[in-house]
Amino acid sequence: MADKILNKIYVKVWRQNNPTAKGRFETYTVENISQGNSFLEMIDILNDKLILEGKDPIAFDHDCREGICGMCSLYINGHAHGPDTQVTTCQLHMRKFSEGQTITVEPWRVGAFPVIKDVMVDRTAFEKIQQAGGFVSVNTGGVPDGNTIPVSQEDAEEAMDAAACIGCGACAATCKNSSAMLFLAAKVSQFAKLPQGKVEAKRRAKAMYAKMDELGFGGCTNTGACELACPKSISIAHIARLNREYLKAKIAD
């Protein structure tokens, strides 16, 4: 079906040349956008225009453009990944916007994610949390046949629900405390539901938790905002499981 055309919209976007530069909002006019375009295609079109005008295009993270790599990370009109639900920024389409609207685009605002340029942030902190314990310590080779480790379908499904996390950071960006609990919980909960994860459960929960604190993410006050912002709808029930895992590990100390 034919998509409608937005004759004119206004994009108010955060511009910051480098991590230490002072940033500011700039507003640009974008014309003649099909509602069938994705949000990032609209930014592409705007950038093309900026380049032709001799201006610096907006730097933003994106890659797969199908909602799975977790690279895109825009805060749009006060929502992580914009006004649609269960989508990443790259899956957001212009049909969610209307004629003449001003669209405000900001980077993830999390202390642990410093701005690199414009709306591109540094999420190395997430890497460090994963490196602290987001794995099962098995080397390549010498593992048993896959079917010698049965997993009930329910557990496998629940583990998969958690494992669906794409590490985009929308949870932390949405949280008023800038907490990374949902991100952390997704990994810990995945392993907690699987026999393979049991061996190192205590060490994992403690190490990842400690790393998250060390990196300056805030604590969780159970507002549930993260679950709503999560493009993969990861449930805060996983945070409850993380807390149980953590408590079990601490009690054992």
């Binding site: 990032l40 080779g141 049965p150 583990a159 393979q196």
Partner: protein, 646 residues
């Protein structure tokens, strides 16, 4: 006698890998600690290789252009991973997987490599399970399988429609463990822009820090390219926006032969193109063809009404629907291999039966599966794909069939490697999609993940030792060596050149033009006239590019336009080689369809007498014709026949 030595081991097909492992050299643990390996790319192949090499004791430096190794485009693979486990008791075996892969590749791959791939495939599943990859399970707790195109057994393991994601996160977790332990030094947001060779051996790379713009030197005793395929040469593809061929291309220009570039897979089930401003195409997993039925209207007038939006697909009665895959290929039906399904879709649309406003779409219908299995089952199997489809197209595939059309998806061609996965440059390896080795002229579904992980977990960690055993006396590579200085000077000049053209045209415009030339002349159907025209147009585009390119921003800052300019410069050269290779191969095989070589029924016609070889191209200069080297394909085990899925 070809100068290419594929180093295929002696012995019967099932003994070759064992014989080879028994004969190749092994490096002692004490010496591994002294050796360094660079791995470029952190998808399934790169991440699994980097982690496994570090576990063995090598010092690894890994590079990716994304902000995290977890974001490599393997993450987007949906349907599954093949393995010859025979868990379903349906008479699967290593031999059958080997045979299916050779046949699926239209007899254009190396028997020995493919057999090895089939042999190690069961180990991959075991490895991933041990890492905690949440594969789909049966009620009894054992692993579940589904079917994929081009085969008659159920051997595909999966994690919903996110198998690539889960396998990559498994490899990423192994990589993270090695990063934490210090065995892998990870460089994110770094792009390899040159290879450094010293006395003919790969000794390091030059990379650009994509945050600061700094040009950096990295030395190692061996370099592994795991940077994926070149599908983005077509601009619109299912690849990620950043996927590029530059790492492979600089290796080609330094002497690594490039093999079979014309073998590009066009995936039959992608969301059709809309308008002219689209940035990429989205794949709908092949697994959907397990339960979806592909059709177009039988009557031209119905197709016309659909295109004008006067009627919808549900207005067309069953008897007026042409399930053309089931009609033409009764034994495989909707599960024919990708190349066959893609051409069949094109044939219907070219004949006027296309169903969207552009006439370039067919239906993939789940009505029948929902009637048979219930909506709940379909939702469980494909829920995330249906959701993705709805978000993009604003139509509900539970109620209305999906519209699909073929799109560029995967590169079977790539850097030429021998049985050890080493390129024609000693000490330089290529693994995963970046090499050419295992899929011949067409890759079967769920085999890319298998190959990437086979190379990274179970092949390279063995074969690289054979080379590195000879390097144990070589001290840490000194990046002050004149070759490093020379390479750094070259890349700095190259980037400066792109930056200072200051023409009028942003890089995307060139990329789109290139893509259009490629899709129109080097796409699903190719002929000598079109290919010759394409080569000329690409050469003209290259001249225009260096005259009129406009790169904004700064050299020493985040600059995506500069990154793209470098990649597109390489794509333009690669596109020309792709067209040349397609012109040279005057036969139809797998994804490569030459109109001059087809049967009366319009099926592809192979020419084994003249083309049963790997075409490996040697770079001789940008304006000089490359030299073709042929590696003859010898089939000792499988008898060559014309492929049939009827």
């Amino acid at each position: 006698m070809s100068i290419l030595n594929s180093r295929i081991p002696e012995g019967s097909i099932s003994d070759k890998w064992s014989n080879h492992k028994a004969n190749i050299k092994v490096v002692s643990p004490a010496n591994k600690r002294k050796l360094e390996v660079i791995v470029v790319g952190t998808g399934l192949a790169g991440a699994s290789a980097a982690a496994s090499l570090s576990e063995l004791g090598y010092n690894v430096k890994a590079f990716c252009y994304q902000d995290s190794p977890r974001r490599a485009h393997s993450i987007a693979a949906q349907g599954g991973i093949n393995a010859a486990k025979n868990y379903q008791n349906d008479n699967d075996s290593v031999y059958r997987l080997f045979y299916d892969t050779i046949k699926g590749g239209d007899y254009r791959s190396r028997e020995a490599n493919v057999h090895r791939l089939a042999e190690v495939s069961p180990n991959i599943i075991d490895q991933c399970v041990a890492q905690g990859v949440p594969f789909a399970r049966e009620y009894g707790g054992l692993l579940s399988n589904r079917s994929f195109g081009g085969v008659l057994v159920s051997r595909t393991f999966y994690a919903r429609g996110q198998t690539g994601q889960q396998l990559l996160l498994g490899a990423y977790s192994a990589l993270n463990r090695q990063i934490a332990e210090g065995g892998v030094k990870m460089y994110t947001r770094h792009e390899m822009i040159d290879l450094v060779t010293i006395d003919g051996k790969a000794r390091g790379i030059i990379a650009r820090d994509m945050v600061t713009g700094e040009i950096k030197r990295f030395g190692a005793h061996a370099v592994v390219i795991a940077s994926g395929g070149y599908g983005n040469v077509f601009f619109l593809s299912t690849n990620a926006m950043g996927c590029n061929a530059s790492a492979s291309w600089v290796c080609y220009k330094k002497g690594a032969f490039f093999a079979n570039p014309c073998y590009v897979q066009i995936h039959p089930t992608c969301i059709p193109v809309h308008g002219s401003q689209q940035s990429k195409l989205t794949l709908m997993s092949e697994s959907l063809r397990n339960d979806g039925r592909v059709w177009t209207p039988k009557k031209l007038e119905d197709a016309e009404k659909l295109r004008k939006g006067l009627i919808g697909p549900n207005d067309i009665a069953d008897e007026d629907r042409d399930f053309y895959l089931e009609r033409r290929y009764p034994s495989y039906g909707n599960l024919v291999p990708r190349d066959v399904a893609s051409r069949a879709a094109k044939e219907r649309c070219d004949a006027g039966y296309g169903v969207n406003s552009e006439g370039k779409a067919v239906y993939l219908d789940f009505k029948y599966a929902i009637q048979r299995l219930g909506k709940g089952t379909i939702e469980k199997r494909y829920g995330n794909l249906f959701q993705m489809y709805e978000k993009i197209t604003d139509t509900d595939p539970y109620k209305e069939p999906m519209q699909i059309y073929p799109a560029i998806h995967y590169a079977m061609g790539g850097t030429w490697v021998d049985y050890n996965l080493m390129t024609t440059i000693p000490g330089l390896y290529a693994i995963g999609e970046a090499n050419f080795s295992d899929h011949g002229a067409n890759r079967l579904g769920a085999s890319a993940l298998m190959q990437g992980l086979a190379d990274g977990y179970f092949v390279l960690p063995y074969t690289i030792g054979d080379y590195l055993a000879g390097e144990i006396m070589v001290p840490k590579i000194d990046t002050n060596h004149p070759e490093f200085a020379e390479a750094e000077k070259d890349v700095t000049a190259r980037l400066n050149n792109l930056f200072t053209i200051k023409g009028k045209t942003p890089v995307d415009h060139f990329h789109k033009k290139l893509g259009q030339i490629m899709w129109d002349n080097v796409g699903m159907a190719r002929n000598a006239e079109g290919l010759t025209k394409a080569i000329k147009e690409i050469q003209e585009l290259r001249v225009e590019f260096y005259k009129d390119l406009l790169v904004p921003g700064e050299l020493n800052n985040v600059n995506p336009e500069l990154e793209k300019a470098g990649r597109v410069a390489d794509f333009i050269e690669l596109g020309e080689l792709l067209a040349r290779d397609a012109l040279n191969r005057n036969e139809s095989c797998g994804g490569h369809f030459r109109e001059e070589s087809s049967t009366e029924e319009g099926e592809a016609k192979r020419d084994d007498e003249n083309f049963a070889y790997v075409a490996a191209w040697e770079f001789k200069g940008v304006d000089v014709e490359p030299v073709l080297h042929k590696e003859d394909l010898v089939f000792e085990t499988i008898h060559l026949t014309q492929r049939s899925y009827k």
